[in-house]
């Protein structure tokens, strides 16, 4: 059987910033509604009207794996998904700082690292997302290009108007 390289893909142009994904993630993994313990984050730019979902992967290089001194962060060579082996972790927090998406988090109450595990292949965030801004599958190149469309349009307009003034 062939293992497909399934990943979480993000399309900012669709995201409304509702943060239902954060709620659903914490509801599933923590049994509470607590965005600070969600394994993904929505970064909001209210002044621009933009909302950008940050999820784990796909990273070309996985800095969290490289930096972990005890090899608690492991990368599946086929799916490229990074997993945390909690019992190995010594809580040095290096991965928290180095994650480019800011989605490796420290639970300051239970003192543990929390990280997305793709919900074992059935992602809760994808199921709740009302707009299709997060999807799960083999990433298509087109989506990656499209997702910069909104940002590019904004920057172009701002530039155009700055030139006018």
């Amino acid at each position: 059987m062939v293992t497909l390289q399934k990943q979480l893909s993000v399309d900012y142009t669709k995201c409304t910033g509702c943060r239902l994904c954060e709620l659903a993630c914490s509801a599933k993994h923590e049994g509470v509604f607590q965005p600070s313990l969600a394994r993904l984050r929505i970064v909001k730019y209210d002044d621009l009207g933009l909302d950008i979902p940050n999820v784990c992967g796909p990273c070309e290089e996985a800095p969290c794996v490289d930096i972990c001194p005890v090899y608690a962060m492991r990368r599946d060579p086929v799916t490229k998904m990074v997993y945390l082996e909690e019992d190995k972790c010594i809580l040095c927090k290096a991965c928290v700082g180095v994650c480019t998406a800011g989605v490796i988090r420290l639970d300051t109450v239970a003192m543990r690292i929390i990280k997305c595990d793709h919900c074992g292949g059935d992602p809760e965030c994808v199921k709740i997302c009302p707009t299709g801004a997060i999807t799960y599958g083999t990433p298509a190149q087109t989506a990656v290009v499209e997702r910069h469309g909104k940002l590019k349009a904004y920057v172009a307009e701002i530039h155009r108007n700055a030139m006018k003034e």
Binding site: G49, D51, P130
Partner: protein, 627 residues
């Protein structure tokens, strides 16, 4: 605490003494009021005595949430600010979306009460247990958006949620608003002026905790089904696409689009203010409040013309009305520009536009002259004038200073019969409806606890002719009259039952767009979710919820009664009672208010003569403590 949903804590900040206190949320309040508006009514009645000057340190600003705020339940991110109204001097409340309510809960509190007055400009910063008054002299004078970003920057956390005032709040414009997330307004009744009078630039909140409900598994399953109901609802889908802009066409069709200061309900330039026109030309992104799968917020960009480069969310239908049809302006970019100014300065767009409409009509009728306006010629469909006046109001400059008082007070100061053109009830400007062609809203406007209100009891079922829904809710024996917009008959029945449901909506707190329009969730849905969320079994009965709603309405009424409000104030501007609708499908219609008021008081258990709650009603609702 032991109850699901609640954090069980009330945070109290005394600005005069620079002290912070955390009180336990009394269990009895939960049984009597559920949350939100109910908690706030209890606090305001008990702690802000009759006759208090709204802009004095004795007034309080309350931020209240409900037991499902910040959960997976659809549109549960909304919050209410409550105070004695800066603009009206009576009960004042303003609901807002965005994210600040959930953040307060994650910080560990159900309710925040801000009282007293700070000596120097400050902002309130709450991060979980840490509560601090931070010097804000460097933020004074900034726009709401600038202040918000500055606070996030200096506290080094972009996830801090901020409710800020702008120049209008600082200068005590009576309809100054609190703005959250750059563009969502706790708009009405002057909450911004209350905060400004306390020398507080902003309330900034960050919470890292969570909300637990009584039965997590069942709640999540129910909430997911509820989200699904929103998603597949055809009207909700339309709302997601067009936002409230969809209403322009609806209102025009039934002759209820307020035009030329509410003179008529038909506007020849309506198409320029409709979703069909706006979305393809200007909309760049769709956004939502916390937990909302509908997403009615639209971010728009003006590529050319005098307002080129304006990038802003909104405005809602109400803004299209207030800076469009009410002023005779058939131009969407003007309304977006006006909305941006209202957001920056922190002002209520409805009151601002309608107060300008008042001035234009008074000028047209010769009541105001260039001497009063400082040389400005006021006229309809003058885009530059509208924008200019709006800025003058925000700064309280020149003629803007008197308009910054709102139409009632401005008319009083001007005299010469100007009151005739002031479209307000109890000091609050009339929202984007017209009782002549939608009779139930006449009763809502007249009886709304905060004045001419479209959010506390607006019946949409009659307006849109939902026959089936009407039969289900009120009985088929009341058809067809109950959905006939031109008759007074049965309107009080519809208004009272609707107001009761909205009261529970405002205790949870959930958005009006899942309850009111489109009507997806109603009392029975609340009765289903509340026991699962809270573990309080009695919330499972619609009768009990109705009683809690009646208690809330009557308590607000008692608050207003203490300020001198009675039947004589449950009125409408003469225009709606005496000037027949001049054109459109409802041509010739006027409002006959008295029979509806009689019915309303009867159903509420209030005295017909005075319009005040009777002793029996007060006893039945266990409100003896409030008399």
């Amino acid at each position: 605490m032991g109850l699901g949903g609640y954090t069980g804590k009330i945070l109290r900040i005394d600005l005069s003494r620079d002290t912070v206190r955390v009180d336990a949320l009394p269990r009895e309040w939960i049984h009597q009021f559920i949350g939100g508006d109910g908690f706030a009514a209890k606090i305001l009645y008990e702690e802000v005595p009759g006759g208090t000057d709204p802009l004095s340190p004795a007034n309080k600003l309350i931020l209240a949430t409900g037991p499902i705020t910040g959960t997976l339940w659809p549109m549960s991110g909304r919050t209410v600010f409550v105070s004695k109204g800066a603009q009206t001097g009576i009960w004042a409340e303003s609901h807002v979306g965005g994210f600040i309510g959930p953040e307060l809960r994650y910080a560990g509190y159900d309710v925040l009460v801000v009282e007293g007055k700070s000596e120097k400009p400050v902002y309130v910063f709450i991060e979980d247990d840490h509560v601090e008054l931070v010097d804000a002299s460097h933020l004074w004078g900034l726009t709401t958006s600038e202040a918000t970003m500055k606070i996030q920057e200096e506290q080094r956390d972009p996830d801090i949620q901020v409710a800020a005032i702008g120049l209008a709040g600082e200068r005590l414009v009576k309809f100054a608003a609190l703005i959250v997330n750059h563009a969502r307004a706790a708009g009405r009744t002057g909450m911004g002026a209350v905060l400004g009078s306390k020398n507080v630039k902003a309330i900034a909140i960050r919470g890292h905790g969570g909300i637990s409900v009584a039965n997590h598994e069942e709640f999540v399953a129910l909430a997911k089904r509820a989200q699904e109901r929103v998603r597949v609802n055809p009207q909700a889908k339309e709302m997601g696409k067009w936002g409230t802009w969809i209403l322009t066409a609806v209102k025009q069709e039934i002759g209820e689009l307020p035009t030329y200061n509410h003179r008529t309900g038909v506007f020849s330039g309506w198409e320029q203010l409709s979703g069909d026109h706006i979305r393809p030309r200007y909309t760049v992104s769709d956004r939502a409040c916390f937990g909302c799968s509908l997403g009615c917020k639209k971010v728009n960009y003006i590529p050319d013309g005098p307002y080129a480069g304006t990038l802003e969310e909104g405005p809602e239908y109400e803004g299209l009305m207030a800076f469009g049809s009410v002023l005779g302006i058939d131009d969407y970019p003007t309304t977006l520009k006006a909305n941006q100014i209202c957001n920056k300065y922190g002002m209520d767009i409805i009151s601002a536009g309608t107060t300008i409409g008042f001035a234009i009509e008074a000028f047209e009728q010769g009541v105001l002259t260039e001497e009063d306006t400082g040389g400005l010629k006021l006229q309809w469909n003058d885009r530059d004038l509208a924008i200019r006046l709006l800025e003058m109001i925000g700064r309280r400059e020149g003629f803007g200073d008197i308009l910054a008082e709102g139409s009632r007070e401005a008319a009083r100061r001007i005299g010469r019969g100007a009151e005739k053109y002031a479209m307000h009830v109890k000091g609050l400007e009339i929202s984007g409806q017209d009782g002549r062609t939608h009779r139930s809203i006449a009763l809502s406007h007249a009886t709304g606890a905060r004045g001419a209100d479209h959010l506390r009891s607006l019946v949409t079922v009659d307006q849109l002719g939902y026959e089936k829904v009407a039969a289900q809710r009120w009985g088929s024996d009341k058809l067809p009259e109950i959905i006939n917009p031109y008759t007074e008959k049965y309107k009080a029945t519809a208004v009272v039952e609707t107001e009761n449901t909205y009261c529970i909506r405002d205790t949870l707190i959930v958005c009006w767009y899942s309850v009111s329009w489109p009507p997806i969730f109603w009392m029975n849905d609340f009765a289903e979710v509340l026991p699962i969320a809270t573990g309080v079994e009695e919330f499972g009965s619609v009768e009990r919820l109705t009683e809690i709603a009646e208690r809330q309405v009557t308590l607000k009424r008692l608050f207003n009664a203490r300020e001198g409000i009675s039947r004589k104030d449950d009125q409408l501007p003469e225009r709606f009672l005496k000037e027949p609708m001049p054109e459109g499908p409802g041509k010739g219609q006027v409002v006959h208010l008295d029979p509806m008021l009689d019915d309303y008081y009867r159903l509420r258990g209030w005295d017909l003569k005075t319009g005040l709650p009777t002793k029996d009603t007060i006893r039945r609702l266990s409100l003896q403590w409030a008399t």
